[in-house]
């Protein structure tokens, strides 16, 4: 006989299990409509792989897993996909989520499938893949994908595999009835798991309030190395960590996994599902669900298709909605009220509880905590619920974490024993959610801070680089200027002047030629313009446009211009030829001028100083006379004052000069 351990705390609520095990598992049948939520498990929701209007067969994959922690969804019966839309799902929030809706055709036609009874031939990875592809997620409550849970990390060695057949919550008998009716499949499933995990021992833990189930299991397990362990009933011994402590005496460390102490736990329902998936090739499309409570006439267990609306299932058990006060998915301790009775049965729906008001009265209002300490005695994880309650009220999140709030399994034992009816678990759930939200916010803030700082740094760097470039350009310009100064500061200016001069010289040299060209060009362009204008005029005349007159004047003008241009060209050519004739004897004219000048000089040189002075005087007197005449003429014709003034100044200046010349003449004569 195995040594059985005990865990701290725990309670003994009324079991209420007998109502639903009087009859064998009934088939719930095929409802007209199946609603399959895409997320029935922990992890990423599956992605639909069928289209609206498509016919699907029973067992066909209708949604593919996304990511590692995810499982596919299968059509629970044959029919047509009538919608993929948001529907209410069984969730305490009452929110909707994407669902695939199948209108069943009642034929229940299977897709081709085959099992692998000889699973020992398969390697572990293939077995795990089969489990994952069968859409198996923990059927006890949380819905963690089984394949992930069974993927043992290499650094963990598993001594014990535990199949959890505890079912400690009141009212629920889904696992109990499985043990009674399908003990063979449970044992076979446990053997598959044992093959997969290779533990030192395989245990099936069952509370002692299920003697028939235990007997059936023991009968089925005889001859195998699987041990069925019976232990005293106490809530919540079905909690994973509690069950491990009961069976092995080991405590899973806070925040750790069962694998850390060498244990793997699987739910009994999941074990059967794994057996069906491997041996018969049937994916998880139906499950055993307990329908119980005083507002159903015939409480019993049903084999129900996933996606069956709860109302349909309840009606099969004789539901009387008028008697019930609410509808609970799960048990009375950890279950939650579903928002509507049309929500579908999902993979984690182990029980539907439809109690009457007398059976599960609405809780009376919470009263003040009297610090009785009963909650601390009941707590299966040895927490201090009343302390946590105070901290939760005061939102002292740090203190809550210091008091290991996250070890709380939300079993509800503290709320159950509380004489003040304080909904303690709700405080803990809210606080946990708030702390997790804060952690996420803090992570996001940290991320934002890093991005902000990175951006600041980038901007600063860009500014710095710009500044450096500017400085480099400035330096380069200065350097160049200095070099230019060494060669001769005004070099570029000088060069420009030289260039301009050269240009001018070229123009002067070829001046005549370019003038001729210009005139020729002018003639050509004027002719062209005249042609286009005439063409336009002709066109306008043909069309009888209003513009004829305007165009006519335009043509006349252009013709005038052309004539002027032609005349200018002819004049130029004529003058050019004349100039060429002049240039034929340039030597003679220049010679004559030179001779004239030389003769004048010779004459001048032969003159005496007196004569010279007299001659100068005479010249000046002539100039003076001329100026005076000019002045008189200007005055008469009423010229501008400025001109008259200028002429007066000239006359005065010439008078002075004449005086000087006279003196010079007198000096010369005296000499």
């Amino acid at each position: 006989m195995r040594k059985i351990f005990d865990f701290h705390g725990g309670i003994h609520p009324p079991e209420n299990k007998h109502q639903s095990v009087r009859t064998p598992i009934a088939d719930a049948g095929i409802p007209p409509e199946l609603v399959i939520p895409l997320s029935q498990h922990i992890g990423a929701p599956a992605v639909p792989s069928v289209a609206v209007g498509e016919r699907v067969l029973k067992g066909q994959v209708i949604a593919q897993p996304r990511g590692f922690v995810s499982v596919p969804k299968h059509a629970p019966s044959s029919g047509t996909v009538s919608a993929i839309e948001d529907r209410l799902i069984p969730h305490p929030s009452g929110h909707s989520a994407p669902c695939i809706v199948i209108a069943t055709d009642g034929q229940d036609e299977w897709i081709a499938h085959s099992g692998t009874p000889d699973y020992r031939q398969l390697d572990k990875a293939a077995l795990l893949e089969k489990i994952r592809c069968a859409g198996i997620a923990g059927m006890g409550g949380a819905g963690f994908p089984s394949a992930v849970k069974l993927s043992i990390q290499p650094h963990h060695t598993i001594q014990t595999l535990i199949i959890n057949g505890t079912e400690c919550e009141p009212y629920i008998t889904a696992d109990d009835i499985l043990m009674r009716e399908r003990a063979q499949q449970i044992i076979a499933g446990a053997q598959i798991l044992a093959h997969l995990i290779e533990p030192g021992e395989t245990l099936i833990g069952v509370e002692d309030n299920k003697p028939e189930g235990i007997a059936a299991l023991r009968a089925a397990a005889s001859g195998t190395d699987i041990e069925v362990v019976e232990f005293p009933t106490k809530y919540p011994s079905g909690g994973e960590k509690q069950l491990i402590e009961i069976l092995t005496g080991k405590q899973v460390p806070s925040g750790g996994l069962p694998a850390d102490v060498g244990v793997v736990c699987q739910n009994l329902g999941s074990t059967v599902a794994i057996h069906d998936a491997i041996v018969e090739g049937r994916p998880l499309i139906s499950r055993v669900t307990t329908v119980t409570g005083n507002s159903v006439r015939e409480p019993q267990n049903f084999q129900v298709l996933i996606g069956t609306p709860m109302r349909y299932l309840l009606d099969r058990a004789g539901y009387e909605p008028a008697r019930g006060n609410r509808l609970i998915m799960g048990g009375p301790m950890m279950g939650f009220t579903v928002p509507d009775d049309r929500v579908p049965v999902v993979k984690t729906t182990n029980c539907l509880l439809a109690p009457t008001e007398e059976e599960l009265p609405t809780p009376p209002p919470a009263q003040a905590c009297i610090r009785c300490g009963m909650c601390a005695e009941a707590c299966p994880v040895s927490l201090l619920p009343q302390q946590l309650f105070w901290f939760a009220q005061g939102k002292e999140h740090e203190k809550l974490e210091q008091h290991n709030l996250f070890d709380c399994i939300e079993c509800g034992a503290c709320s159950y024993v509380c004489p003040s009816n304080i909904p303690l678990v709700q405080y803990y759930r809210a606080s946990k959610a708030e702390i997790q939200q804060q952690r996420r916010d803090h992570e996001k803030a940290e991320h934002s801070r890093q991005r902000f700082e990175a951006r600041q740094e980038r901007l600063e760097r860009a500014e710095r680089e710009k500044e450096e470039k500017r400085a480099a350009r400035k330096r380069a310009a200065e350097e160049k200027a200095r070099q230019a100064g060494g060669d001769g500061e005004e070099d570029p200016i000088q060069a420009a002047i030289e260039r301009a001069r050269a240009k001018k010289a070229v123009q002067q040299a070829g001046g005549g030629e370019s003038e001729l060209e210009k005139l020729e060009k002018a003639v050509v362009s004027a002719r062209k313009r005249l042609e286009t204008a005439s063409a336009k005029l002709a066109e306008a005349q043909a069309q009888g446009s209003d513009l004829v007159d305007a165009l006519q004047t335009g043509v006349d003008k252009t013709r005038g211009k052309l004539e002027a241009a032609e005349k200018a060209l002819q004049d130029y050519q004529a003058s050019d030829s004349a100039a060429a004739q002049d240039a034929a004897q340039p030597g003679d004219a220049a010679q004559a001028a030179i001779e004239k000048a030389m003769a004048a000089r010779a004459a001048e040189a032969s003159l005496s100083p007196q004569e010279k002075a007299r001659k100068d005087l005479k010249k000046l007197e002539q100039r003076l006379q001329k100026s005076r005449d000019k002045l008189a003429a200007s005055r008469e014709s009423g010229e501008e004052e400025k001109i008259i003034e200028a002429l007066e100044a000239t006359v005065t200046r010439l008078q002075d000069k004449v005086e000087e010349a006279r003196i010079a003449v007198q000096d010369a004569e005296e000499a």
Partner: protein, 206 residues
């Protein structure tokens, strides 16, 4: 030497004390230089509490400058995104009295917002990209821009520079993904925990 010391115990004590003072002084002096803390640790702690939206509603160009200002005596109630919880955390850290949020700088919105660019209307001017303090907007000149949802802090700074007014601030609605349990209303009879087939409670109700 030793004889003198044994003869004058006072001198020995003096020497010992002076020697110890010198040794410890040297050790402390070395430690002060060797383990000098970079920056102002209190600023980092304050900055850690601030929500890092970089929205500038406090009047400072980012959370870090406001953290520095708080360290120099600025009021702690100027951060609307941080809200009451943020002020409470700052008050605890700085050992100050809790003061309600200064309404002048904005109101606390419990639902986080996120910028959304109506992409058909975007003209690709990059003004919002330049305004974003955390580089959460993707795009290029004359190309459509879009907000990287996971990086957006909801600071609102991109809305104003948009010349065609195509940026909306979308408040997050409660959904299945962000739903969580709320603390029970202490006076309400409606509680979500079921553990009520407690015989005592049943007797009382009956």
């Amino acid at each position: 030497m030793i004889e003198t010391l044994t003869q004058y115990p006072l001198l020995a004590a003096l020497l010992a004390l002076v020697g110890m003072a010198a040794v410890f002084g040297a050790v402390l002096g070395f430690a002060a230089i060797r383990f000098r803390t970079e920056g102002n640790p209190i600023v980092d702690q304050i900055n850690d509490i601030l929500p890092q939206t970089q929205c500038g509603q406090c009047g400072y160009p980012g959370c870090k400058p406001y953290a520095e200002a708080i360290a120099n005596g600025e009021a702690i109630n100027k951060c609307p995104p941080g809200g009451e919880a943020g002020i409470q955390a700052l008050a605890d850290l700085l050992d100050q009295e809790f003061v309600p949020l200064d309404e002048e700088h904005g109101e606390e919105d419990p639902r986080p917002a996120m910028a959304f660019i109506r992409e058909d209307e975007c003209i690709g001017c990059t003004k919002c990209i330049q305004a974003c303090p955390v580089d959460a907007i993707l795009g290029a000149a004359k190309q459509m821009h879009t907000v990287i949802a996971s990086e957006c802090t909801g600071c609102d700074l991109c809305v104003e520079p948009c010349p065609v007014d195509c940026i909306d601030m979308i408040r997050e609605e409660e959904s299945l993904q962000n739903w969580h349990w709320q603390l029970p209303d202490p006076v309400s009879r409606k509680v979500e925990i079921i553990a009520t087939d407690n015989p005592d409670a049943r007797d009382r109700a009956a």
